[in-house]
Amino acid sequence: MEAKVVIANKAGIHARPASMLVQSATKFQSKIKLAAKGKTIDAKSILMIMSLGLVKGTEVVISAEGADADAAVKAIKDLVESKFGEE
């Protein structure tokens, strides 16, 4: 399962959105990965997410493997598209 999203909130993935991503990812059993800027990282690691330096406009591929993979990818995709409740 895979989906593509573009970071849409003005401030990019700073600490707050990153922690929201991790919060969402850790709810699922599946292994969830984010790929951007030529790197693939564990979506349950706030450090790795932040180390990607995702600013507005960056394209991110979300992928997941496991029993709840579909739901996981959808949840993360929705979260990014909701701009994390920011501008």
Partner: protein, 568 residues
């Protein structure tokens, strides 16, 4: 005989209580750490990660309950770092290689921090601070260094340096005393302690390492003595001093509701210098009539990102409300290279006091300044607020700020937020340039407040923390007195008010001549208010005028001081 340590007493008072270490330096603990085998260290690291995550989770909850969502968000990110799979993996790999648990944690967080520091975006570079902070927290947990978490008993805070935010966030009634290893009497921790009259001893140097957590001590903020594990007998000996302390307190309490008025009815307003709304209750108990200086730096310090307009609005609103109808003068951010902030990116400067600081930063960084202006304007709805600009040297700066205030009002109107339209704008007179220019500046501002700490330093070209020249530092220097007189006169001539918020205002002898010069307000750390008030109430304005005339004839600071001590 119990052991006695000696430092420099900077804030008088007797404190008896248990030590709480809030040391920022963990090198000593690291050196003394006894590591177990690999398995034991892995368990320690793993336990610490879990425990710290739980503590942070608790902090998140409290912050949410206190309606501080921004800080809660930051703490939540910290919690996740403590539970981060990448961090954990890196720590465990290091332990496997034979590094002990605390060092492995520090090394792993340092690696991640460096990774962040090399990123392009300034925001992410600054996150390195968070990662190191979390790493240190976990290492401290393993080393048994306590975070300042308070029980019911009031404690004596002790450390080589104490971050101002640590003291600022603890309610006054929980702190009996403060002990610092470093010797500065003007560091922010001391300024905060002063505002709350907390007995303080500084300058213990390395001896501070010999003070253990939880040990009982008796601290004398006057003599600088710290008695370790005092016997009942010793405590009894101090009873007399304690008794006097109580009597003085009772006398000051009686003085609190009385006005600062000369025997022939000339009044001066005595206000308080505060670092945050948490200082207000103590300030009010000393009888302050409003706030003459709200140092907003503390709202900016001790955090990892720029405080939002909302955060600032809440902090200002609370202080303004506590002023209960009296003026609350809010000084805009006075930060520079001497007290850098992670998120400000101030380059290292050779001469921070002559560098990019205060209003100069505010005018260059609108994203910092606008939220502050908007927050003050909004908070102004809840009482009498005033905006005060630090480090002004020209009319241009005042004009620029006026434009920004107009813009802030426009934005607030668009956003549909309520704000006060008539918030007075004043300046700190703390550069010789501003003092000389006061007759011109007076046409553009609503008030002056003389900041003597910097004014004396800039006028006399004396750094008061430089031991070789500090003897030259005096607010009684005739050049300083003349600049002050010029300022007060310019205010009077132009129908605006003048005040003082530097240390000079808390000198009762200086207060008398300032009053004679026609100053309207004196603002000081609240515990000084009773002494100043006592002096003013003991003299007539006629006598004060005579003293001032005589003083202005004198040639140097020593002569002025001597004359004052002898004659009033």
């Amino acid at each position: 005989m119990p052991k006695v340590l000696r430092g420099k007493g900077v804030i008088a008072g007797i404190a008896i209580g248990k030590i709480m270490l809030v040391s920022q330096n963990i090198d000593g603990y690291l050196a003394a750490y006894q590591a177990g085998d690999v398995q034991a260290e892995i368990e320690k690291a793993s336990d610490a990660l879990k425990a710290v995550a739980e503590i942070l989770q608790g902090n998140v909850k409290t912050l949410k309950e206190k309606d501080m969502p921004e800080q809660a968000g930051i703490m939540e990110a910290h919690r996740m770092m403590a539970q981060d799979p990448m961090m954990e993996e890196s720590i465990m790999a290091k332990v496997q290689e034979g590094t002990n648990a605390p060092r492995a944690v520090l090394a792993a967080s340092e690696e991640s921090a460096t990774l962040f520091e090399n990123m392009d975006d300034a925001y992410f570079r600054e996150r390195a601070v968070d990662i190191r902070d979390v790493g240190r927290r976990i290492a401290k947990y393993i080393l048994g260094v306590k975070e300042p978490e308070l029980g019911d008993e009031a404690v004596i805070l002790c450390g080589n340096e104490i971050e101002p935010s640590v003291i600022a966030n603890i309610p006054t009634e929980k702190i009996q005393g403060v002990i610092l290893g470093q010797g500065s009497t003007t560091c922010h921790a001391v300024i905060i302690a002063k505002a709350r009259a907390i007995a303080t001893v500084v300058g213990l140097g390395e001896k501070v390492a010999g003070i253990a957590d939880g040990v009982s001590v008796l601290l004398d903020g006057e003599t600088g003595e710290i008695v370790m594990e005092p016997t009942d007998e010793i405590i009894a000996n101090y009873q007399e001093k304690l008794q006097k302390q109580h009597e003085l307190k009772a006398y000051y309490a009686k003085l609190a509701p009385l006005p600062a008025e000369t025997t022939d009815g000339v009044r001066v307003q005595l206000a308080a210098n505060i670092g945050g709304h948490t200082d207000m209750d103590s300030a009010l108990s000393y009888g302050c009539e409003g706030v003459g200086l709200f140092r907003t730096e503390f709202v900016f310090m001790g955090r990892e990102d720029i405080p939002t307009e909302e955060d600032q609005y809440k902090a200002y609103k609370e202080a303004i409300e506590k002023c209960a109808g009296n003026m609350c003068v809010i000084r805009t951010m006075d930060i520079g290279g001497d007290k850098p902030l992670a998120y400000l990116d101030i380059p290292k400067e050779e001469n921070p006091f002559l560098g990019w600081r205060a209003i100069r930063i505010s005018l260059a960084r609108h994203e910092l300044f606008m939220p502050q202006l908007k927050a003050i304007l909004r908070a102004g709805v809840f009482g009498k607020a005033a905006i005060m600009l630090p480090m002004v040297i020209s009319v241009t700066e005042v004009k620029q700020v006026k434009e920004l205030i107009a813009q802030a009002k426009l934005e607030l109107t668009h956003e549909g937020k309520a704000f006060a339209d008539n918030v007075p704008l004043g300046i700190m007179v703390e550069t010789p340039a501003a003092a000389v220019l006061t007759p011109v500046l007076a046409k553009h501002v609503d008030f002056f407040s003389i900041g003597t700490n910097d004014l004396v330093q800039y006028t006399l070209a004396v750094d008061r923390v430089n031991h070789n020249v500090s003897y030259l530092y005096s607010h009684f220097h005739p050049a300083v007195l003349r600049l002050i007189q010029t300022t007060i006169k310019a205010a009077r001539d132009n129908g605006i008010w003048s005040g003082m918020c530097g240390e000079m205002a808390s000198d009762p002898y200086a207060a008398v001549i300032l009053m004679a010069m026609g100053i309207h307000e004196l603002s000081m750390s609240a515990p000084s208010i009773p002494r100043v008030k006592e002096k003013i109430r003991s003299i007539s304005s006629q006598k004060a005028k005579e003293v001032l005339d005589a003083v202005l004839e004198l040639e140097d600071s020593e002569a002025v001081k001597e004359y004052l001590y002898k004659n009033i």
